[in-house]
């Protein structure tokens, strides 16, 4: 039990520090144009990586291929047809759940 509460306390402290670090260290400054260019590209890089890790990452961080893949393909189809975000998420959930039920 003490082990569990140690993890909770460490997570509270480290999460708060990591979230505050960027805004506190750099907040309010005008960044040079080249740095701004890098910052502008963080979003596509991070989002693409999150798609990959959330699709192929197991809960322990390992690589796995499972029913989330057809789910994501379904969401991609919705987006290709200019469907909304929520519809894409609903389709991903339904296809993933359906694949698990069938196979």
């Amino acid at each position: 039990m003490a082990e569990t509460w140690s993890v909770v306390i460490w997570l509270v402290v480290t999460t708060a520090l990591v979230r505050a670090a960027g805004p506190v260290a750099l907040g309010g400054r005008e960044l040079p144009a080249r740095v701004t260019a890098v910052v502008a590209l963080l979003a596509p890089a991070l989002l693409a990586a999150l798609v990959i890790t959330q699709t192929f990452g197991a809960t322990d961080g390992d690589f796995t291929v499972d029913e989330r893949v057809p789910g994501l393909a379904g969401a991609g189809g919705v987006l290709a047809l200019r469907g909304g975000i929520l519809l894409a998420m609903a389709v991903a959930m339904a296809v993933t759940a359906g694949s698990r039920a069938l196979f």
Partner: protein, 235 residues
């Protein structure tokens, strides 16, 4: 704080709060046998970071120690560093005020508050996070105390919600910002995919953010197109 931005963010954040509650319920179900109900609830209330919580749970549940669980969680949370750095130039005020804005960082809120060319709407970010916090805590409680009724969260396909969400933000927003953004997204995905089988959890996303350094050479903001981004990206 601009109230209209907070309200707009809140409206956009509500559907994602529902998704967060579903994920939190699955966290509550899985964490209860490992952490116990009180620690699980306190963790969700005070940490409020899904990937780190799931990561710590996976390590401890798999027989790992405190240090391994904390390191996994820190690595998974480390993406908030580049996110915070990206947000920082849009913040004003003293260090405490800026730190509090940083505490509102969530993947979804950060992405939806992105206005392109390195600019963010911090009040919109806070608004989008506001409904997610009670949803996360309440969802955890539901998972803890109604887990038997819900069953296995994987059967509901809940783990497909957020990859689809990030894909939608990428396709609907970032990839419309120009060719450089498309190249960076492809490279970022490639880096994450290449590292995922080998690197510790959290490292693939951090490494992928390094691809943004291409901006040093491309002058991306000068060539950025100006996509007609819908005011409500949830649409």
């Amino acid at each position: 704080m601009r109230r209209e931005s907070v309200r707009a963010g809140f409206r956009v954040g509500v559907p994602f709060a529902v998704a967060a509650a579903l994920l939190a319920a699955s966290f509550g179900i899985l964490a209860e046998p490992v952490f116990g109900a009180p620690a699980t609830l306190v963790m969700s209330a005070l940490v409020f970071a899904g990937s780190a919580q799931f990561g710590a749970l996976a390590v401890l549940g798999g027989g790992g120690g405190v240090a391994a669980a904390v390191i996994a969680a820190v690595l998974l949370n480390a993406r908030y560093l580049p996110m915070g750095i990206a947000l920082a130039p849009s913040l004003r005020g003293g260090w405490l005020r800026r730190a509090l804005y940083g505490e509102a960082l969530l993947d979804a809120s950060w992405a939806m508050a992105n206005r392109g060319e390195g600019r963010f709407d911090p009040d919109f970010l806070v608004g989008a996070t506001l409904p997610c916090y009670p949803a996360w805590v309440a969802g955890t409680a539901i998972g803890l105390y109604a887990g038997d009724w819900i069953g296995d969260p994987a059967e509901w396909g809940l783990d497909a919600l957020f990859p689809a969400f990030f894909l939608a933000l990428l396709v609907g927003g970032e990839l419309r910002r120009g060719r450089t953004a498309v190249i960076v997204a492809l490279l970022g995905a490639g880096v994450a995919l290449a590292l995922l089988p080998f690197a510790p959890a959290g490292i693939p996303v951090i490494a992928a953010s390094g691809v943004a350094l291409l901006g040093l050479f491309t002058g991306h903001t000068q060539e950025t197109e100006h996509p007609e981004i819908e005011e409500d990206p949830v649409g």
